[in-house]
Amino acid sequence: MALDGVDLGVRPGEVHALIGENGAGKTTLMNLLAGAFPPDAGSMRLDGRDYAPRDAADARRRGVAHIHQELSLCPHLSVAENVLLGAEPARHGMVDFRRMERRAAELLAELGRETLDPRRRVAELGLPDRQAVEICRALASDAKIVLMDEPTSRLPRDSVTRLFETIRRLRGRGHAVLYVSHFLEEVREIADRFTVLRDGRSVATGELAATTDDELLEQMLGRALGPRLASGRSDGSRRIGEALLEVEGLALPPELVSATLTLRRGEILGIAGLVGSGRTALLRCLFGLDRPAAGRIRFRGRDVPTDRLSSGRQIRRGLGYLSEDRQREGLALPMSIADNVTLTRLDTCSRAGWVDLSAQDVLSERAVRPLRVRSAGPRTPVHRLSGGNRQKVAVGRLLHQDPDVLLLDEPARGVDVGAREDIFREVAALAASGKAVLMVNSYVPELLDVCDTIAVMTRGRLSAPRAASAWTPESILEAAVGRG
């Protein structure tokens, strides 16, 4: 369940921050307010009247504008057309472009963006300007409440300053802004009041000025901040060997600003951080799915030319990748377990281009057996499996591929406790056998449980890796929200 009892009150002319950890239900709440789906229980009132939007368009008519992380603009249309989409000034069905452009220019000026030309095509604009167009659209529809979901997560700092100026102008005009963010210092800069969500519930609300950071962190975590000492993690059975993968200053702006790390044989290095902080971009660069703009990668002590990276080459070098998006990228759902497991190394069960189906079955079975996949056999299409079993198949593919370095992006996302145990047991076994594992994971207790070393990604910058025993849940959260 994503939401389980939320009380929220937002006043005109205030910026209200909605804060909470990954998965606390912030985005779900936003979608609900914006009419994407109705609540199972509870009621909403807007301006003293019952508010139950049928859909997104209805919510917009009622005065609730949602500014998505993935902006919803028409790239082929002009700025003015996007701002007044669905409400074009017209006479006899003909758009009055002059009036439309004047109106858009007025609205842009109110937000302090008069330099933005209303006649430009949105496709030509960068992200900060697109965001301004979308906020302007909210203004045009005379929105009472503007919902902003992590508007700064992909912005450079100078654009953040301009965005805040825009938000203050909105507030000054009496609009209410509901602002989702992870970043406490940012919340303090822009918001007046706050509500903390934890596990789908609203657990605290109040004036930001009267609340300390420690109090907010405690509410987000759901318990008192302990002394910042080691979590009693006991391990040491694994032998950490020589460096396999060395990364220096790897960057792919704006997601990834800088990452430096060394990954050794037998090591599980965990990467903590908020969703959208650049962790996935780091793994994708390392696996050759995206080309880094700067930085060096060394594998087994030899430079890997970053301008000729490709996933095929990285697989041949001995890297394996587990995508965070198993539906769209990780698995071929209509194909069988055996096909999915052997896909990265079909040469193990084929000769002269002919796949040996029985060999494929045997190899697939061997790969997934330790993971305990529940299925009717290796020919079962993956889409018939549960989420946990699908993820096991994706992990099984890595076992079959047998790479030296495993890049795992959220390996236990959306899987049940049993599958989680099976997967992490295998990951630990792989490390014990001399593999190196780089794991992105949003669930902090899991990181502390599984990893030898942990680094935290904050706004595209990776901290120096430290021994897991040197981190606590509190210090990881603080680092992730940019306060450590």
Binding site: D55, C74, L85, E88, A90, V95
Partner: protein
């Protein structure tokens, strides 16, 4: 440069590629035939224009549909069906105007069914109109009883004649009708609320919906208007052949789509212009005509047109990627 001028300038630049292609084809065949005075003669250009009418009308409708992010594979079948219906109406004693109106309306009805299937049954346009391709073709054969339907001579036949009896018309009346409708459609797309909503739906459907645009209604309207134009193309087909032929116009939809794509339209929606599509239609007519004059077999034309389509789109992608940098 003032800004409205800049956007108009940019629109002209986008037409430059297709126009350059048209000039290239004209020059190439003028040289190849060794008789530019014949290939580019007024008489031959009139032939080319008259031959462009059906694909041109289809391309006007297809431009609208493709900008909205859709596609219609049932153009050829609709042309055949409406040519049969118009011919049957004439044979049954209807006035030429009534027969033409009936043919156009039949095209609109086909479009309505397409639009209803796409929005009501949530079938992707490719499949919905692929189904209609078979249905309309079959219906045409049923109504025509699997043979051509001879239509009595009327003034409708004048629409498509290459050398009209009223010499001041210069070209076939159908050419003027096509040109007029192309201008009208260009204005609708550029200047009306409906036209901008069509662009919005093709550009980002979710955003259009969130902004309160009745996306389904826009889509149905797009297929109906497209269907009306395909119906008119059917009437032109009937007027040219002086009969309704249920087996005619097989594969015309591919020529029509090619014309739109050569003219800068995109299968992904949000892009395209009627002017570009008209140039695209002319490029293909000039090619066909040139190949005929060279005495080349039709397979050569087919290969050349295939290559041109791929090159036109590749050039457009290249330009787009340069613009993105």
């Amino acid at each position: 440069m003032a800004d409205p001028a800049r956007s108009r300038f940019r629109r002209l630049v986008r037409l430059f590629g297709p126009a350059a292609g048209l000039v290239a084809v004209a020059v190439l065949f003028a040289l190849l035939t060794g008789a530019p005075e014949r290939y580019l003669s007024a008489a031959n250009l009139r032939v080319v224009l008259a031959q462009t009418v059906i694909v041109g009308l289809g391309a006007i409708g297809m431009t609208l549909i493709m900008i909205s992010g859709g596609i219609d594979l049932s153009v050829g079948a609709s042309v055949a069906l409406t040519s049969v219906i118009a011919a049957l109406a004439l044979r049954g004693g209807a006035s030429p105007a009534a027969a033409a109106a009936l043919g156009v309306a039949a095209g609109g009805a086909v479009g309505l069914v397409n639009g209803a299937a796409i929005t009501g049954l949530r079938i992707v346009p490719f499949i919905a109109t692929l189904g209609m391709l078979g249905i309309a073709r079959g219906a045409a054969k049923y109504f025509a009883e699997e043979q051509t339907v001879n239509a009595p001579a009327t003034w409708l036949n004048e629409l498509a004649v290459t050398f009209p009896s009223r010499a001041w018309l210069l070209v076939a009346p159908g050419v003027w009708i096509t040109l007029g409708l192309a201008v009208a459609m260009a204005v609708v797309l550029r200047r009306t609320v409906f036209g901008r909503h069509v662009f919005a739906v093709g550009s980002n459907e979710a955003a259009a919906r969130a902004c309160g645009i009745a996306v389904d209604r826009v889509k149905v309207a797009v297929y109906v208007v497209g269907g009306l134009l395909f119906g008119l193309a059917g009437v032109m087909q009937m007027s040219r052949l002086r009969q309704g032929d249920p087996t005619v116009a097989v594969g015309v939809e591919l020529d029509v789509i090619a014309a739109v794509v050569i003219g800068g339209g995109s299968l992904a929606g949000g892009e395209g212009s009627v002017g570009g599509s008209m140039i695209g239609a002319l490029v293909m007519s000039m090619l066909r005509n040139g190949c005929q004059q060279m005495g080349w077999p039709t397979y050569v034309q087919e290969i050349i047109i295939g290559v041109i389509i791929v090159l036109a789109v590749a050039a457009d992608r290249y330009r787009a990627s340069r613009a993105a940098d």
